[in-house]
């Protein structure tokens, strides 16, 4: 199950979470190696976002362990998990719309420990805006940003936490083809910086371009795990998830 070599950044084992009678995540286990991009795929309602919510502390698991750099974080409050180096984005982007880009990132920095001195924080915000391609937009209200720029800002806010592990929940959804290329390059550059990434994504071109390995879920369980090309050619995956879309389309 473990990727070859090194201590996994993330190790999930026996993870389970039920909502009433519905077991949304069932005995889920996988590991993500340092610097890897792992795709978490599966049909709608298969439990992908619930799995991210368990890892990031939005939800508490019923059972199971989640190890971040070897430390069990299962059930910790989300702000503690964030301080330990796990950041995430959300399916529907929610920024502080009444505030500008600079203030939105400042909000991301404000809850960190130790606090950055104000002058350093300003410099760091500029670096983050530049990092995601929003240099010069620092005083624009978040509400005025185009869709991709909102996505960029959300990413900058997540990066403000200096994450070891970044969970991206359909970050590329809704981008047009040219924006998609920009977005893929941006995520790839995060990997080059050494950030480990778990990517929930339905945009198959992006999964092919970015993911080293994939885990495929169905009805809360892992059904397939392996290198991306193998997984996307797997008969069960094609049937449950891809439909008639050939893996090499």
């Amino acid at each position: 199950m473990s990727p070859e070599g090194g201590t996994p950044v993330l190790e999930v084992d026996g993870l389970r979470r039920a909502f009433g009678g519905l077991v949304a995540v069932n005995d889920l286990g996988f590991a993500v190696a340092q610097g890897e991009i792992m795709g978490l795929l599966g049909p709608n309602g298969s439990g992908k976002t619930t799995a991210l919510n368990l890892m990031s502390g939005v939800l508490r698991p019923d059972t199971g362990t989640i190890r971040l750099m070897g430390r069990d974080i299962a059930g910790l409050a989300s702000y503690r998990i964030a301080r330990l180096g796990l950041a995430r984005t959300f399916q529907l982007v929610r920024m502080l719309d009444g505030m500008d880009c600079r203030e939105n990132i400042k909000a991301g920095l404000a809850f960190q420990k130790p606090h950055l001195p104000a002058a350093e924080a300003e410099v760091r915000i500029d670096t983050l805006l530049d990092r995601v391609g929003l240099a010069g937009h620092d005083r624009r209200p978040a509400a005025d940003l185009t869709y991709i720029d909102r996505k960029r800002l959300e990413l900058a806010r997540a990066l403000a936490a200096k994450p070891l592990l970044l969970l991206l929940d359909e970050w590329l959804a809704g981008l047009n083809p040219s924006e998609l290329m920009i977005g893929i390059d941006l995520i790839r550059s995060l990997k080059a910086d050494g950030i480990t990434i778990v990517l929930v994504e339905h945009v198959m071109n992006a999964v092919r371009a970015l993911c080293d390995r994939c885990v495929v879920m169905s009805s809360g369980r892992k059904i397939v795990e392996g290198p991306t090309a193998d997984v996307l050619n797997d008969a069960a995956v094609v049937k449950a998830y891809l439909g008639g879309v050939a893996a090499d389309a």
Partner: protein
């Protein structure tokens, strides 16, 4: 069926739509191409009456002037919108959301049969009929938004990125369904980020740039138009076209 003329919309000083004219016939799928920020979502909202437009527009549905109608009466007259960001009633059940979709008088008679069609299209909604909508996954909520709009028995259906968040297999199912909806005589106006996919099922398309319609043609013409290809279809990545 749907005729729009001189549609203008401004947010403060920003002119979002200017002198937009388009038409959608019964039984055809028309797509709007354009970059993010071009005004596609504004266009759909303006037609559906959920944003205030500048004076002078003409919107006719089946020959009737609906320009001055409030949004709920526009739905009554046969036009439904699947909005961006789902807009479902999160605290209601799936079944209740669908029932609300069938609230217009024009939709009440055939409600049971139409609900059956919607549930056939999205079997997941049948399984989840009694579930509180906000507790479903994002993709499932998107299915519900599309299903609810279909429940209003529209003559014209406006769809703002209906495939957002759906799995590849579900996107194919959705597009197959949109074809069936077209065959039933409904006119569809479709906005999709993946222009390749939307041109794959559309009959015609309009190109929107900075709030102005700058091009119009059959889907085949637009697909092979170099300017459209450069601007909206992307060069580097092969887009996954739906296998029809």
């Amino acid at each position: 069926m749907l005729e729009v003329k001189n549609l203008r919309l401004a947010y403060g000083l920003h002119r979002a739509l200017d002198a937009v004219a388009l038409n959608v016939n019964s039984g055809e799928i028309v797509t709007i191409l354009g970059a993010n920020g071009a005004g596609k979502t504004s266009l759909l909202k303006a037609i559906a009456g959920v944003v205030r437009t500048l004076p002078g527009k003409q919107v006719r549905l089946a020959g009737r002037d609906i320009s001055a109608l409030p949004a709920h009466e526009i739905v009554e007259s046969g036009l439904a919108l699947v909005p961006e960001g789902r807009g479902i009633f999160g605290d209601l059940t799936v079944k209740e959301n669908l029932l609300l979709g069938a609230n217009p008088k024009r939709a009440r008679d055939g409600e049971t049969a139409r609900r059956e069609q919607v549930l056939e299209l999205f079997p997941r909604l049948r399984e989840r009929a009694a579930q509180i909508a906000r507790t479903m996954s994002g993709g499932e909520q998107q299915m519900l938004a599309v299903g609810r709009a279909l429940m209003s028995n529209p003559d014209i259906l406006l769809l703002d990125e209906p495939s957002l968040g759906l799995s590849p297999a579900m996107v194919q199912e959705l597009f197959a369904t949109l074809r069936r909806v077209r065959e039933a005589g409904v006119g569809l106006l479709l906005v999709e980020q993946n222009a390749q996919e939307s041109l794959g099922i559309a009959d015609r398309g309009y190109v929107l740039e900075n709030g102005v319609i700058v091009g119009h043609g059959s889907a085949d013409q637009l697909k092979s138009d170099p300017a459209v290809q450069r601007a909206y279809l992307g060069g580097g990545l092969p887009a996954a076209a739906p296998s029809s």
